[in-house]
């Protein structure tokens, strides 16, 4: 990577500070992006990464600090101005208009008009198709965005960011919603974007990605600049300790299939109209059952069908061996089944409500006295307990969730389900956007829950995570279960193999 030493600075930030009520998000931060490089920006949840990027995108105004683009000092006046300066950003949270089509979303604000006002939809779709062809993305320009899965929405965001003639491309956790295969596509896109005139700032919590894609790594901690390292010369351990300020010891894979408890939840012949075909499995008390598969394989749909969020065409759900009829999540909750959704913003948090309200949302009935009065001080106590336990970065439990960083919002959703005493917990991508240190803590918590006799289903698109945590691993492809492996039998390779067993050859394992 000769570029690292030779290149000149494309973007230079010095002494930047930004405060919110009760939070100093950034204090005197510096950052240098050189021509032609991919600079990774890392830090714990709430370290200030997104805030810094929003300053660059013209969404926030800094309290203090200097920005230089190609050596020239400037003030970024707003999102439009940032675009004009050649700064393009993929936000951590989606910024899509769900009622518009893919093409309309990508070119919003840049439509070509005839006669001043008229639009040509076909031309727009063609423009989008050209873009997708160029990028090698399989997206339909005329499909409404609301019908896309989270992962494909992410693809739209990426395509949109790349459609600008950008010099600086900022990606705030673009892979949080992506699977390994999509990550490969993304990295290919980044490599092609990179020229001697451009640079990429890449935010991620996935350490293994940093080595693959970045040239240098800048670390933030608690809103402060900690240091910058050349990727090729640095051990991941060092980066982690810079981030966290201590060593993280990742545990090994679970000893063996020790869980031999009763099946708590059994699924038989689960079929839905859209996707699932004859899915069946058991989860036992005390075990963590991992679900692996590619994007759209149907893992989320299995979970949603179990908790009654989607209609079941045929099949049976049994709790402790007894068939139950679950037609909505409230009934699932009555049978002791809880579901943490993969879509944090739409289906997870109440953005406009406080941290503690979110934490007790699922278990609120436990805080109610006979007459329906809620016990505010006990709620506060629970809120504080989980804020400490999961190290949620917030000035108080009364803070509105929308003011938390993405990863901390995710912790709040996890806390919501930890606070509720469920027998079966289905966690769909629970560590999305969560930093390395916190991930380990969450793994530990999940293991503790299992040890207490709960049955846990964990859907994850990160194979290492599944391997690290699950006692048994179910693999899905095209709405079918293609494998059910003990942890000891599983490797990244064979999981991937089962995940790509398409069409009829899939075998249903139990």
């Amino acid at each position: 990577m000769s570029a690292v030493e030779a290149a000149t600075s494309l973007l230079d930030i010095e002494g930047v500070s930004k405060g919110f009520p009760g939070v100093q998000a950034l204090a005197d931060v510096q950052l240098e992006l050189r021509h032609g490089e991919v600079l990774a920006l890392v830090g714990e949840n709430g370290a200030g990464k997104s805030t810094l990027m929003k300053l660059l995108a013209g969404i926030y105004t800094p309290d203090a600090g200097i920005f230089r683009l190609n050596g020239e000092e400037l003030v970024i006046e707003g999102p439009r101005h940032a675009q004009e300066l050649g700064i393009s950003i993929i936000h951590q949270e989606f910024n899509l208009m769900s009622d518009l089509t893919v093409a309309q979303n990508i070119f919003i604000g840049r439509e070509r008009r005839t006669g001043g006002i008229f639009l040509d939809e076909r031309a727009l779709n063609r423009r989008a198709q050209d873009l997708f062809d160029r990028l090698g993305l399989a997206l339909d320009p005329s499909e409404p965005v609301e019908r896309l899965t989270v992962a494909r929405q992410q693809m739209v965001e990426i395509a949109k960011a790349l459609s600008f003639d950008a010099k600086v491309l900022i990606m705030d956790e673009p892979t949080a919603a992506l699977n390994d295969t999509e990550v490969d596509v993304l990295f290919e896109l980044i490599r092609r974007f990179r020229t001697p005139e451009t640079g990429v700032i890449y935010i991620s919590h996935r350490m293994e990605e940093l080595a693959r894609i970045s040239d240098r790594i800048t670390v933030l901690r608690d809103g402060r600049y900690v240091g910058t390292r050349i990727t090729a010369e640095t051990e991941p351990r060092e980066i982690i300790s810079l981030m966290v300020g201590r060593e993280i010891v990742g545990e090994q894979r679970p000893a063996s299939a020790a869980a031999s408890g009763e099946p708590v939840l059994s699924v038989r012949g689960l079929t839905t109209r859209n996707l699932l075909r004859d899915v069946g499995f058991d989860v036992r008390a005390g075990e963590i059952l991992g679900f692996a598969g590619l994007m759209g394989a149907g893992r989320t749909e299995v979970a949603r069908a179990i908790v009654g969020a989607d209609r079941i065409e045929s099949g049976e759900i049994l709790v402790h061996g007894r068939a139950v009829n679950i037609s909505n999540p409230a009934e699932a909750a009555r049978h002791g089944i809880g579901y943490l959704s993969e879509d944090r913003k739409q289906l997870g948090v109440l953005l406009e409500r406080s941290v503690r309200e979110n934490i007790v949302l699922a278990s609120l009935r436990d805080y109610v006295s006979g007459l329906g009065f809620v016990n505010g001080s006990r709620i506060e106590a629970t809120g504080r307990e989980y804020v400490e336990k999961l190290r949620i970065k917030t000035p108080s439990t009364a803070q509105l969730v929308k003011n938390l960083s993405g990863g901390n919002q995710q912790k709040v959703v996890i806390a919501k389900w930890l606070a509720k005493d469920c027998e079966v917990l289905i966690f769909d991508e629970p560590t999305r956007g969560i930093d390395v240190g916190a991930k380990e803590e969450i793994y530990t918590l999940l293991r503790q829950l299992a040890d207490q006799g709960k049955a846990i289903i964990m859907i994850s698109s990160e194979l290492p995570e599944v391997l690290r945590l699950a006692d048994r691993i179910a693999v899905m492809a095209e709405g079918r279960l293609t494998a059910m492996l003990d942890n000891a039998e599983a490797t990244q390779e064979n999981l991937m193999d089962y995940a790509t067993r398409f069409s009829s050859e899939g075998t249903i394992a139990r």
């Binding site: 405060g19 926030y60 909750a333 409500r353 109610v368 509105l400 929308k402």
Partner: protein, 343 residues
């Protein structure tokens, strides 16, 4: 290499156009809870002060009681509607629903000759029934709140006429009925029982909204209905309950308005829903749902009542009165916005 500045610089106001969209927004939200009401309250104080200055007849005990009396019925409607609006819904049926409840009070007390307590209780429950039907239409049948309650608005208006035979029903057999609203409860001052009931209902509504499970779920549903449902909350049932609760308030308003007039008037009521919703929204409750407070609604209702009364007291010609009310509402809400943005 990490310059550890001891003190972060004091945050200064954001200046870009988007301050309002993003940077301002969280700040605003942070303060909203407490400040919003204080600011609306400030508007109310300013309006009261202005009228007191303009006319010696305004700030008198009797007139203030008159204002409260005028605010009672709309205010009680607005209290119930606050819950509905916080869920992100709307209730257009409260005005004519109230009229129908009044007519039912006449049916129970005069036509059926029930004892007064039974008639009053049945009327309030009848209001609850209207709300229940709204709730079922919305929650179970999936009809949008606007349409469901618009339908109920029309149905109630018609049924009032049908049931009463388009004639007022007088409470001839229960002359005590009128004391529910009118009985003077403070010797010396003409402080009517109805106003006291209003005050009690304010407290009840405030406690329900802020201290009980129904209030919690009201906010949760309004904030993110899908997420609330996925958290295992039976959203359908709670929404039905919330509309039913609003209906009970409508029933009570029906009792009070019939009591005030000593008769059940089968007409009118249209337009009252907008007045009540306006009170709620002026009080800072968002029609988007998820945000709101009872105290805000009360202040909103008082602002409306004070304006109407004050403009009459200072003898503003009638055609100018609605212009003045419109302008004052705009200015009051705008100043709120301004001060909230600044703070």
């Amino acid at each position: 290499m990490t310059p550890t500045t001891t003190q972060p610089p004091a945050p200064n106001p954001s200046t870009t156009a988007f301050a309002a969209v993003e940077a301002g927004a969280p700040r605003l939200a942070w303060l909203r809870g407490s400040l919003q009401q204080l600011l609306a309250f400030a508007s109310l104080i300013v309006i009261v002060a202005a009228f007191s200055f303009a006319s010696p007849h305004f700030f008198t005990t009797n007139n203030l009681v008159s204002i409260l009396t005028a605010a009672t019925v709309t205010g009680i409607l607005a209290l119930g509607t606050t819950f509905v609006i916080i869920t992100g819904g709307i209730d257009l049926s409260i005005g004519t629903g109230m009229v129908l409840c009044g007519v039912m009070a006449g049916v129970f007390l005069t036509y059926l000759g029930w004892p007064i307590w039974a008639g009053v209780a049945a009327t309030i429950l009848f209001g609850g029934l209207i709300g229940l039907i709204n709730g079922v239409n919305i929650s179970v049948f999936g009809i949008p709140p606007f349409i469901a309650t618009l339908g109920m608005m029309l149905i109630s208006a018609g049924l009032s006429l049908v049931i009463s035979g388009t004639k007022p029903i007088y409470f001839n057999d229960t002359p005590e009925f009128q004391s529910i609203m009118n009985l003077s409860i403070i010797p010396g001052v003409r402080f009517p029982l109805g106003v006291a009931i209003f005050i009690v209902m304010i407290v009840v509504a405030a406690v329900l909204l802020s201290k009980t499970i129904i209030g919690r779920y009201t906010f949760s549903i309004g904030s993110n209905e899908a997420a609330t449902a996925l958290s295992g909350v039976n959203v359908r049932r709670w929404k039905i309950l919330i509309y039913t609760l609003a209906g009970l308030f409508v029933g009570l308003a029906g009792v009070l308005s019939a009591s005030r007039l000593s008769s059940a008037q089968p007409t009118g009521g249209m337009g009252l829903e907008l007045e009540a919703i306006a009170a709620v929204v002026i009080g800072g409750t968002s029609l988007q749902g998820g945000k709101g407070s009872i105290i805000g609604t009360v202040i909103g209702a008082l602002i409306m009542a004070v304006l109407t009364n004050g403009l009459r007291i200072i003898s503003v010609p009638q055609e100018w009165q609605s212009v003045a009310v419109g302008v004052v509402i705009l200015v009051a809400v705008y100043l709120d916005m301004l001060r909230r943005r600044r703070s």
